[in-house]
């Protein structure tokens, strides 16, 4: 009798284990399945609209053929602007946290705040830039869009710079100091060089993050149907054009939206894969 009870207990436990295993497998399959479904739909819909015209023609009025040249160029300009503004600030702040004030109260506070900025809602950043740049200037501008994206670049770069500089062995710094190199030159010539791959990874990740951002651009750089590289005027960008075209009732626009979505996703995935590869090579050497 007792033997039977023990046996049925064992069976129950084994069954529960089997159920959990199956559920874990199902969950993983679901996660991977979603990725396949989204990328599959993207490739299917995006490739059907892909042609040379996409890269050589302007966005069309409804009902006629056209391309995505102005939003592609606009997105590139905004991204470069954001990286140019955000990266130096991010690297300097990360340098302070890793090199000068590693155990400061300031560093602890900045790290905490930076981690919150890292995942703060991007639409709030859009509102912020609207308040401090667009409203005082009186008009939407590419510059405001670039600054909004820079605000998103900073926390990513701060985080990776600090992490990567912390990994640089202290013996390198001590060796440099022992032969009389000032602190700032030690950092610039020894630490930055040792952490170069990691810091570059941070910039790549930041670019991957901002190249698909739409919310902060909606009311900063707005949109522009025509060719414009003027930073003082509204400028077109891929994500905003996708948003506008996808929600329109016109079939041509929807096809272009899918194609734009494909271009952005491929760019972002390429960036994150090269960032990963960079980390991998950095670890080996």
């Amino acid at each position: 009798m007792a033997e039977q009870l023990v046996q049925s207990r064992y069976r129950g436990r084994r069954r529960r284990n089997a159920i959990a295993t199956v559920l874990a497998l199902a969950a993983t399959a679901a996660g991977l399945g979603w990725l396949v479904l989204i990328l599959g739909a993207l490739l299917w819909e995006g490739f059907s609209g892909l042609s040379i015209a996409v890269f050589t023609e302007m966005t069309p009025p409804p009902g006629s053929a056209g391309g995505l040249l102005n939003p592609i160029v606009g997105s590139l300009i905004l991204t470069v602007l954001a990286v140019l503004i955000g990266t130096p600030i991010g690297i300097l702040a990360g340098t302070y946290m890793a090199e000068y004030g590693r155990h400061d109260v300031l560093t602890t506070v900045v790290r905490f705040i930076n981690d919150i900025l890292l995942s703060a809602p991007s639409i709030v950043v859009g509102l912020f830039i609207y308040e401090v740049m667009v409203a005082p200037m009186g008009h939407f501008s590419g510059l405001a869009g670039g600054v909004a994206l820079a605000v998103l670049v900073i926390p990513v770069v701060v985080r990776t710079t600090e992490d990567m500089l912390t990994l640089v062995p202290n013996s390198l710094r001590e060796a440099a100091t022992s032969i009389g190199l000032p602190r700032s030159l030690t950092i610039m010539h020894i630490c930055y060089r040792a952490a170069r791959a990691g810091m570059l990874t941070g910039v790549l990740l930041a670019v991957a993050r901002i190249s698909g951002e739409t919310a902060p651009l909606l009311f900063t750089s707005l949109n522009n149907q025509f060719w414009s590289t003027n930073l003082n005027a509204p400028i077109s960008s891929l994500p905003v054009v996708i948003f506008q075209f996808a929600l329109s009732p016109y079939k041509d626009w929807q096809v272009l939206a899918w194609t734009g979505a494909l271009i952005i996703t491929m760019a972002v995935l390429a960036l994150s894969i090269s960032a990963r590869a960079l980390v991998a090579t950095g670890k080996q050497s």
Partner: protein, 337 residues
């Protein structure tokens, strides 16, 4: 000689084009180096303080922008259900309600699935498959949110309209108590659809943090439990999960922070209706979707101010959630490290 392989002293002195010959110029060089050193130090410090000021500036500008709306509507802004741009009467309740409900649906789905994937990756998966599957799940986090939006609108919503939603209406919609939650026609777009898409977006955050804290559980603890004859599931349930609890909650809060603030994916599929419906199949709106949809079209200072006030509410909510998440993750980091 490779010019990059100069001696360090060359870098220090030679690079400035100064060759220290006499004692006087040597002192000058040292002075200049000392000055540059201090300048660099202060520059980095200023940048670090700048990050703090950035957050302060965001909060101050949002508060300043929302003052007109808060003055006009007072506390009623938080609890009023009205949203009428014509009569300039605004209330935040439908947007707050939609934000909370969609995030709740997202977490309800993403947390169990994420934990099970972490369980699979740490305990069941063969070693050589761990990295590829882990990377694939993390790729979900890399896909821009607007892609989720366009996919949700054109692929996922029509699919739900034809399959899941009629099924829910026919089964759960007729059940007592929960019935009203699943009432009404299958729109396709709506709060449930938005919640499901958010679940997919949040999944990688929950998964990767859970996996990391699961992996940090000391092997001795697990081995001891296996030695007592525990099954894999029992080890995970009774040893790994309690040990990693704080970190897992931190990961969940981090995901929640993302879900609350997510804009584009939700804007596409939420339906943008300023009302509170009993049914989760009905269209609604969220704070971020309202701002994204209406901000550029807002005429009048009060309308704009009401939208900025919504942004302020969103920022305060996500700030609290993210601060708790970071605090919990910091605690577990300290324990591991």
């Amino acid at each position: 000689m490779d010019p990059r392989r100069r001696s360090v002293a060359d870098i220090a002195i030679g690079q400035r084009g100064v060759i220290a010959t006499a004692a006087g110029s040597r002192a000058k060089v040292l002075d200049r180096l000392r000055l540059g050193d201090a300048a660099f130090r202060h520059l980095t410090r200023a940048a670090a303080v700048g990050v703090l000021l950035l957050l302060g500036a965001v909060i101050i500008s949002l508060i300043r922008g929302s003052i007109p709306a808060l003055k006009t509507f007072g506390f009623g802004f938080l609890v009023s259900e009205r949203w009428n741009p014509v009569t300039e009467n605004f209330g935040a309740l439908p947007a707050i309600y939609g934000t909370v409900i969609t995030s709740f649906i997202a977490m309800l789905i993403a947390v169990p699935i994420g934990l099970m994937i972490a369980f699979f990756l740490t305990e069941l998966c063969p070693q050589w498959l761990r990295r590829p599957i882990g990377i694939a799940i993390e790729l979900l986090a890399g896909i821009p949110s607007i892609i989720y939006g366009i996919w949700g609108l054109f692929v996922f919503a029509p699919f739900l309209q034809e399959t899941l939603q009629p099924f829910l209406i026919k089964t759960l919609g007729l059940a007592p108590l929960v019935g009203p939650l699943f009432g009404g026609p299958p729109y396709g777009i709506g709060m449930l659809t938005a919640g499901l898409i958010l679940a997919i977006m949040v999944l990688p955050f929950v998964t990767s943090i859970s996996r990391d804290v699961f992996e940090a559980v000391p092997a001795v603890l697990k081995e001891a439990a296996y030695g007592l004859g525990c099954t894999t599931w029992e080890v995970t349930r009774n040893i790994v999960l309690p040990y990693a609890r704080v970190g897992v909650i931190g990961g969940i809060m981090l995901g929640l922070g993302r879900a609350l603030g997510e804009t584009m994916a939700v804007t596409f599929v939420i339906g943008n209706a300023h009302r509170i419906s009993a049914s989760i199949l009905a269209p609604g709106t969220t704070i971020s979707a309202t701002i994204a949809n209406e901000f550029t079209e807002a005429v009048g200072d009060l309308y704009t101010s009401a939208l900025i006030a919504l942004g302020l509410i969103l920022f305060v909510i996500t700030f609290i959630v993210l601060a708790i998440a970071r605090y919990l993750l910091l605690r577990i980091e300290r324990r591991i490290g």
